[in-house]
């Protein structure tokens, strides 16, 4: 199984992004993230199903709620992807 994650600056940023996506029918889960993902210490991520990644990226971009980074997670391995 694979999925994508968006990283957020803060829990509020993660909640804002989740709200944008959920209003368009994309249901995501919010998780804590460590420095290995954020680069700056504590942060948050949104987990998005693979099939909805492209649409979710477009929705966040058009709403002005830009994620900090995005990763493709395959079998537990993360690979950063361009936004």
């Amino acid at each position: 199984m694979d999925h994508f994650i968006f990283t957020a600056r803060s829990v509020t940023h993660a909640q804002r992004m989740a709200q944008v996506l959920e209003r368009s029918g994309i249901y995501v889960s919010i998780h804590r993230a460590g420095a290995a993902i954020t680069g700056n210490g504590c942060g948050y991520t949104l987990q998005v199903p693979s099939r909805q990644f492209k649409r979710a990226s477009e929705l966040l971009r058009s709403s002005g709620q830009h994620p900090v980074k995005a990763f493709h997670v395959i079998n537990g391995q993360r690979q950063e992807v361009a936004l």
Binding site: R9, S10, V11, T12, H13, Q15, R16, Q19, I30, H31, R32, A35, T38, N40, G41, C42, G43, Y44
Partner: protein, 371 residues
Amino acid sequence: MIYLDSAATTFRKPSSVREAVMNAMRTMSSPGRGGYRSARAAEETLYSCRSLAAEMFGVGEPERVILTMNATHGLNIAIKSLVPRGGKVIISGYEHNAVTRPLYALGADVSVAVSPLFDKQACIDAFAASLRKGADAAICTVCSNVYGYVLPVGEIASLCAEAGIPLIVDASQSAGALRLNMSELGAAFVAMPGHKGLYGPQGTGLLLCGADPLTLIEGGTGSESLRQEMPMFLPDRLEAGTHNMPGIAGLEAGLRYISSVTPERIANHARSLVRRAAEGLSGMKGVKVYLSEDYAAQLGVLSFTVSGRECEDISEALARLNIAVRAGYHCAPLAHRSGGTLDGGTVRLSVSAFEQNADIDVFLKAMRGIL
């Protein structure tokens, strides 16, 4: 108890507020500090409170709603973000010490836009004249905590916008009773307490940020932990340390209560009670009430004095009868100077959505006995 001191704190709260506080004590830990259930419950309530406030006060982005300890906390952030040491500031003649003391501490060059009580046009003219001289910021309360006088903040905001001077609005006495739209007002900051007209618990407040703020305190935010600089983004930049989750949960319930009852109904109820009190007091010998002829120009606050009697004596006599009012200067000597009551202050009664005609009638009966 007959409680007539809601301008200080609304003592009677909706039952939903009490329940929300208790629920937070049972189910919430710290937001932004973990992925476990109690942290997530806190995060959801905090975000809900922020979002409700953003919608209620026309703030486009919920992250620009900052949870503070009280209005004084928010005003300190706003003032210290805009006013440099020795900077020039224009304020109304009805500001609270929550405004004037931070300005004094900054050594600010304060120009007071002096105008008579309940004279909106004079207030606008005074601000217009002062703004022409330029300033780092202007500060205006929406409603005087001493007299309930509703100042023409919309017109003052327009004047500030024309002059290019950022405006700080103190909505301490109006939030929850008068609608305010941050985007339409174009204010740099709006500060308000959670524990008055928003019916939240003590120790809560909101700061709406239209401008970029400076930090007042620094500390942990649960974000960017490896950096020693405070995050540049809101709300984390201004919310260092653990949140008051029982308070915020109660405030969230208070915002829901106001949305359901509507500010217009609350304001009309409060105005009606103040008129009833004023009419009753006016017939008493030696009593002078400070009532606007314009119904809309005054909210749920009424000041009065009694010739030959100390305000504190009246207040003490009422307290002995289990009637709560406030006497003296109400932390706003500037307002008393403007309103002509600096010599001794006033007795102030103030109401919320929960006081009734019967409360006013008991107060009036007590006053007849005291006099």
